[in-house]
Symmetry: C2
Subunit: 231 residues, 2 copies
DNA sequence: ACCATGCTGTCAAATTCTGTCAGCAGCGAT
DNA sequence: ATCGCTGCTGACAGAATTTGACAGCATGGT
């Protein structure tokens, strides 16, 4: 069986992820142990399968951030869990993440045979409609800052209505029943603080990285709060 | 590119799903337009890729219920949505569905390169811990009854504490912030009724199908309640 | 203008896939 | 026990596909 080819394509994706800058086709060909001509064919294959690879003459290839899943089998419970979870995200999260949930569902539905697609459309697992929120915070920007480990300038109104400005190192976002909370290290208080996103007056990314790494902060915060690691 | 082969494997899965009973390899070979020898090789390929296909001598092949996804690409937002959604399900749904969510996450994590797997483990999107519930209802059984369109014998305690017994046709399950609600047609009241699962004293499947189809009931209920169809 | 690079066509060699034939093993019915 | 049906594996030759080498064109940056 030609398992070699599909595995080579997976390897190719990994190699492209390693380089964060554009890589030349010649380099990729060498790393995957294949001729340049074949590499071009492999790239074309991946693109045909939906991989977001951009190639520019004179520069090389870059893989847009994302995840290529190989073929895999999900049980009925697993797919129901994914569908229900995505629906919850679609309703409860900010517009961009919600759009991601909808897109993911559509991608999955698109590859299912008609009979099973209908099963999803008629899925019997429903999620409550979200409440009206007065939460205009830009969660997408906050998520981006978290991913990039960028410091944020925050104007925040605490429980007592007092307004403060701080610089914080955001590293997590919590979704509770009715509120969303940004978790970060607060330079002002020199400690971990939780910020309800509906009380954030404004958040501006400084574009500068904070000095510690996100997983370390997360771990330390978990220990400080006595929160077990999620499954 | 040998897109022919992988497509044939997808077709093979669909054909196997059509037959709910065991199918002989010869039949499958004829349906996919391939020799019997090659069919055996195709089956082996699918099994190697994780498909749950069982073959028994003298009977044929059966595909265990589930969904085989072809290789596909998810954007960062999409995968974050899937992860967050699965975490929510893992915490908020009944044990079986929660296990499905955990399993699905593990399957996805298992095929990601180490660096991205860590990304999921350190995911910055958190879900609130579930509240303590006094909800001992067997949601897994209810979901099963919904899928099979089976009638349920229900002992239910309504808001006023009055205890009733009814036969209902369950067709949906709603997840709200703090309560879960089974939706069904109530034979006693001759109308759609919502049953909070924590007020269900006992639910016994009759094993008999109800006379109407689930999608029709769902649609009618949506119209009656003024609920738009979910994305 | 020049170089690095992406991209496509062509064709023969290398590789893989497929069909045919053969044989063994497990299961149910006669 | 025997038979038929079926799953499953090995071997091998021909068919089909993939690969590599070569040639050429297009594009962007220097």
């Amino acid at each position: 069986m030609t398992v070699a080819r599909s595995e080579r394509l997976l390897v190719l994706l990994q190699v492209m992820r390693r380089y964060r800058q554009p890589v030349s086709g010649a380099t990729l060909a060498a790393e995957t142990g294949v001729s340049l001509r074949t590499l071009y064919r492999d790239i074309a294959s991946l693109q045909a399968q939906g991989a977001l690879i951009e190639g520019e003459a004179g520069l090389g290839y870059v893989l847009k951030p994302g995840f290529m899943l190989p073929p895999m089998m999900f049980s009925q419970e697993e797919i129901e869990a994914l569908v229900l979870g995505s629906r919850w995200v679609a309703k409860m999260a900010d517009p961009i993440l919600a759009a991601g949930a909808v897109d993911a569902l559509q991608k999955i539905a698109a590859v299912l045979p008609a009979e099973l697609k209908e099963e999803i459309d008629n899925s019997t697992l429903l999620v409550a409609a979200p409440r009206n929120r007065e939460d205009r915070s830009d969660l997408a920007m906050i998520r981006k800052a978290i991913r990039a480990e960028h410091m944020l300038h925050l104007a925040y109104e605490d429980e007592r209505g007092a307004l403060t400005e701080r610089r914080v190192w955001p590293f997590a976002l919590g979704f509770f029943d009715s509120v969303r909370v940004m978790v970060g290290w607060c330079e002002l208080r020199q400690g971990f603080r939780h910020f309800r996103t509906d009380r954030i007056i404004s958040a501006v990314s400084t574009g500068k990285r904070y000095p510690r790494r996100r997983p370390a902060l997360l771990k330390e915060w978990r220990r400080a709060e006595g929160i077990p690691t999620p499954g």
